[in-house]
Homo-oligomer: 206 residues x 2
Amino acid sequence: MKKKLPRKTVERLSEYRRTLINYLDSGRDYIFSHELADMHNNTAVQVRRDIMLIGYSGVQRRGYKVKELIRAIGKVLDDPRGQNVAIVGVGHLGTAILHYLKGKRPALHLKALFDIDKEKTGREINGIPCYPVEELAARVREHKIGIAILTVPMEVARETTALLVEAGVRGLMNFTTVPLDVPEDVFLEEYDLITSLEKVAYFVRI
Amino acid sequence: MKKKLPRKTVERLSEYRRTLINYLDSGRDYIFSHELADMHNNTAVQVRRDIMLIGYSGVQRRGYKVKELIRAIGKVLDDPRGQNVAIVGVGHLGTAILHYLKGKRPALHLKALFDIDKEKTGREINGIPCYPVEELAARVREHKIGIAILTVPMEVARETTALLVEAGVRGLMNFTTVPLDVPEDVFLEEYDLITSLEKVAYFVRI
DNA sequence: AGGGTTTTGTTTAATAATTAACAATTAAAT
DNA sequence: ATTTAATTGTTAATTATTAAACAAAACCCT
Ligand SMILES: NC(=O)c1ccc[n+]([C@@H]2O[C@H](COP(=O)([O-])OP(=O)(O)OC[C@H]3O[C@@H](n4cnc5c(N)ncnc54)[C@H](O)[C@@H]3O)[C@@H](O)[C@H]2O)c1
Ligand SMILES: NC(=O)c1ccc[n+]([C@@H]2O[C@H](COP(=O)([O-])OP(=O)(O)OC[C@H]3O[C@@H](n4cnc5c(N)ncnc54)[C@H](O)[C@@H]3O)[C@@H](O)[C@H]2O)c1
């Protein structure tokens, strides 16, 4: 596998790609680094550097060929065989995410939902099967799920995480307000609204 | 105003505080840096350094006094007069956030909701008044709203942002999948699920 | 009381990320 | 064809963040 890219670069590449996909509609085939930069409130140098890191080259005086750049980013971000994802806890937030994710990223396959509520399990929701948590380990293995989105109530966040890790999940997005304990080979993304909001609040005042 | 803290430190302080508030239930009055560290998958040094930066001191061999530390973090993160927040776009996601936020952080006052849908406007939702977007500028000024959570459909994200900035909003959490354009004195937090999910996917593979 | 141990606070070093600098290239203008 | 201006790719410098190192204080044990 190629060398690990900086975390921040990975984030930006994902953002660039989305912007570029929309940009396709504009009818222009090329885009300049400073244009892409302006669309993301960052600098042309940053953009060029990020693109350099994935080994793609634009053409001078012309910019980057949009379609090629999208492909080049895909080559870095996407697993060619796809990666399977589950949502655990299909409540308010889980449902919103479920609908939002649908058809968004072709390389990320939402394969399973898990809940404890019998009303929700044993059927498909928006085309995705929803299983009872009791089947979690078996289903995670069956569907080869490597990534889980955790949207359960905070009281059960830690035990659910333990189940997921035990079942072989390698990456976790934690939407709950509970700090989780994972082995260091599991990638944990804390995705807490309050933290981000308090950060905004702080930097607005400072 | 005191010196600006590092972005990452601010994030962690927010997380520490939440953990500490829960920890109050444990009955213990003190907590060690390594305990707090373990709860957040980071190191004791990091914790001590963060705490040092806000000027709070623990007692050696005893650790940090939980209640005092919570207060000390509040002194840094919270505006004593509170800060007012609005949610713009009360759909699936906006509603989930609305319910989630309720009563969570006393220093952040959710003062207003905005939507274009006449079904939703002109009344209170969960105790918060929901106004039509036409009144946005006036209501933002009336309620002195400094922070906005943007959960409108992506098609209108940019125009809505322009309205908000014009009306005087100083901080923005962008939940939409659209890169926004803001003056540099407005603090913009991109809060995109896809980006984070793709990042997890990348680091799981690498 | 004194030696050993634990834990904090702070300084110094290492690593990661951003920004600046600039050479190389190429399209456009003359 | 030559010059000029624009734009990329890359290296070097700067700044931000994390980790390591260690002295100082506080407790514990004898
Ligand atoms: N709503 C938000 O905007 C928001 C924002 C940030 C974080 N959060 C956090 O996300 C989590 C979910 O929030 P929500 O508003 O969707 O709550 P919710 O109560 O609407 O949904 C929780 C879901 O999890 C299911 N569940 C309960 N126990 C379970 C278990 N052991 N295994 C599997 N599923 C189980 C419930 O049946 C329910 O469907 C909470 O921890 C909340 O703090 C929510
Ligand atoms: N649902 C998710 O999990 C999720 C996750 C990430 C990002 N997002 C993004 O968040 C946004 C909202 O998602 P959603 O699922 O809540 O959509 P939604 O359609 O349920 O809600 C959108 C709301 O915005 C209102 N609205 C429309 N035009 C408006 C305007 N000009 N001013 C004010 N309000 C207006 C609509 O009436 C509706 O209530 C979308 O841009 C989506 O891409 C959603």
